[in-house]
């Protein structure tokens, strides 16, 4: 059996790895540095709809933070109780009451419970801090500050693994200076055109970028510079579909802060096609024939032998 050469490692975007999925699955946002991401971009007062970060938080996040604070209060209260030497009759610990009624030794269990609650609280602290700032980045609020062009023309047909095209991106020069102050990396992706998303909910566009499935293949990811270009060879595992190219600008914590794309807002212009490699190698073809033939021959053999034995 001959194998097709494996795709370069960076093209693995579509076949999600375990590490990617843990983050996606739990819906956790970036870590403790949640405050800094959502400050307005420099002096830009463009009404792109950037709202105040606190007001933008959803009920879920607020709920998490409330729980967190109430747990912290609980811990402090417990500590106070312990110091005062009380170990009975608190509504939080009705089990201690029951234990006393039953004559069990309540004090050690209370102490153990408190020690346990401290470690749990410490763990919860870490988790909640991690959970709290899962604020959604909405596509409609991303400024289109990059101008992206590609050497592909509308209706071009490219072959996976063979053809190349060059993508160029540049910051819109009409923007005030410092607009790209927090752009640290640029990520260029191949995105499905609406005709390839039709009847295929697994490629659906979603305003919440965490749930958006439009762009599933990374062409290149590199450090940001005001202009840049990259010659991209279409990866071997790109499926047959119609595409356009989009570039996201990411800040230091890998959050999307701006974008640019080769097509218009309705995604109708400059759409090109890619023909994928189906994976039907000669090796597979031959093996399938051989195994199938073996199956038929073996059956006939056993049947004939069986009949002969009977006679």
């Amino acid at each position: 059996m001959t194998w097709v050469e494996s795709a370069p490692a960076s093209q693995d975007a579509s076949w999600r790895t375990l590490e990617d999925n843990d983050m996606l699955q739990s819906g956790f946002g970036p870590g403790l540095s949640w405050g800094s991401n959502y400050l307005p971009l420099g002096d830009s007062k463009e009404d792109e709809g950037l709202q105040h970060p606190i007001l933008e938080m959803k009920a879920k996040e607020i709920g998490c933070i409330l729980i967190f604070f109430s747990l912290v209060m609980l811990v402090f209260k417990l500590e106070k109780e312990e110091e005062k030497g009380k170990n009975t009759s608190h509504s939080y610990f009705s089990f201690t009451n029951l234990n006393q009624l039953k004559g069990f030794e309540s004090k050690p269990s209370f102490m153990a419970g408190l020690r346990l609650s401290k470690t749990t609280i410490a763990l919860l602290l870490l988790i909640v801090c991690h959970v709290g700032p899962s604020m959604a980045v909405l596509f409609s609020q991303l400024p289109k500050t990059l101008i992206v062009t590609a050497t592909t023309k509308s209706g071009d047909v490219l072959h996976a693994g063979e053809d190349k095209f060059t993508v160029t991106w540049a910051l819109n020069t009409s923007l005030p200076a410092g607009a790209d102050a927090n752009y640290k990396t640029v990520k260029v992706l191949l995105c499905y055109a609406p005709v390839s998303q039709h009847d295929r909910k697994w490629r659906k566009s979603n305003n919440d970028l965490k749930k958006d499935k439009t762009c599933q293949f990374t062409a290149v990811k590199q450090d940001y510079s005001a202009t840049g270009k990259h010659e991209y060879t279409v990866a071997r595992d790109i499926p047959t579909a119609s595409y356009f190219v989009r570039a996201y600008a990411l800040d230091a914590s890998d959050t999307k802060v701006a974008f640019g794309q080769t097509t218009d807002a309705n995604k109708t212009s400059n759409i090109f096609d890619i023909v994928g490699i189906t994976g039907r190698t000669t090796g597979i073809f031959v093996s399938a024939i051989v195994f199938s033939a073996f199956s038929g021959v073996a059956l006939a053999f056993f049947y004939v032998v069986e009949n002969k034995k009977k006679k």
Binding site: W15, S292, F294
Partner: protein, 532 residues
Amino acid sequence: METTEAVGAPGSSLHGMTGKEPAYAFSVDSKTQLDTNATFDLPVDSEHKATKFKLFSLANPHMRTFHLAWSSFFTCFVSTFAAAPLVPIIRDDLNLKKADIGNAGVASVSGAIFSRLVMGAVCDMLGPRFGCAFLMMLAAPTVFCMSLVSNAAGYITMRFLIGFSLATFVSCQYWMSTMFNSKIIGLVNGTAAGWGNMGGGATQLIMPLVYDLIRKAGATPFVAWRIAYFVPGCLHIIMGILVLTLGQDLPDGNLKSLQKQGNVNKDKFSKVLWYALTNYRTWIFVLLYGYCMGVELTTDNVIAEYFYDRFDLNLRTAGTIAACFGMANIVARPLGGLLSDKGAQYWGMRARLWNIWILQTLGGAFCLWLGRANSLPVSVVAMVLFSICAQAACGAIFGVIPFISRRSLGVISGMTGAGGNFGSGLTQLLFFTSSRYDTAEGLTLMGIMIMACTVPITLVHFPQWGSMFLPPSKDEKRSTEEHYYGSEWNEEERSQGLHGASLKFAENSRSERGKRNVASAPTPPGNTPEHV
């Protein structure tokens, strides 16, 4: 007078059910005549059929046959549903739309409707061993050819052809009935069916695992899934060869007697079919089974893709979760039957009917919850509960089927089985093929449909035992089991005494009156019911 059942007579594969003993007994009572001269590993009766069911033995011929039969059925389930966990990869390779995926799912379960009917005839002609082996070996090329498809039409066609292999259910049950005494055949068949169905769950684990290994070895995704399909194909060949070399048709290994009796049908098939079709209970149970086994097959097809897309899991994780659905079969299906028997001990047939209604309606409710669940843990819990209830309902339904008719038992069982596949095809066509509903909505609607389609069981009424809400008939003549089972034979046949076996069955089925009523049942002289 015991009428000897011709091997191969219509429905003979399920004529083990006498109606007297619990459907899931582990061993026969001491009244059965044992052949003490036989040198088998298990105690056997006069026909050399085993009277005990020793699960973890591979002794020739009885237990070995059991393990060969259920594992070949398991393999067919693996290959039929092998595409399901790999759909996220296949859909990009073949540029499939949602309609194509849905239609392929419908096709994969539809083939078996016809092939199961043909399989009965094949088992009659060639014996269950060859029937099973033929199907396995002839289905193997279809599995290998799946690796060669390049468009939606090819994909749908191959899934349809691979689906034919689900007819091994018939050969499996038939083979069991030649090897195991009728008193324990219920448990044996139920276990074999449940463990076979488990293949639908195992495949969701096996295929992503194999796919991952092949990818790690260096293949691109679109090559890897095609190579992964060689695994079920090779399993087909291996199982086929094992069946041919290690299996035997009868405990004595004697094919000749099978062929001598095989074509002598003691009953007219047209009559048997007529009594099956004109009994309204048949159709209600066909509908019910369509919405417990049918939804199980449907869920096997859609659940891995659902978890992959909805919760952004990777293929392995989605497959593992999806596997939990099918693997519950290992205990859930026999559990349904056991609950049915336990209930029948106290409250008779009414308990069996309520048992089915409760399990299946709960299954529908959990399916609805599954469709509405927004977080992963809740989804998994809902799915597991749904699987247990749906599969237990399957087992419970087959606890009632033997009592619908004695004469047409085989045909009714076959129709019920086909109804399962039909229900699956219909559900996939309605809710999982069009773009109108996404999969979550489809699951919700499926749950509602399950609950709605379980309501007709309230209409099932046996004159001698009553129904879910109504008591047995007050008419003295109509409220006997003999009248019910005897009414399947016309005057002429009755005068010839052809209905003897049905009468015996009727006597034994008096246990379906439950504890309280058995004492009041009219007993023919010289016969004490067992449960008093």
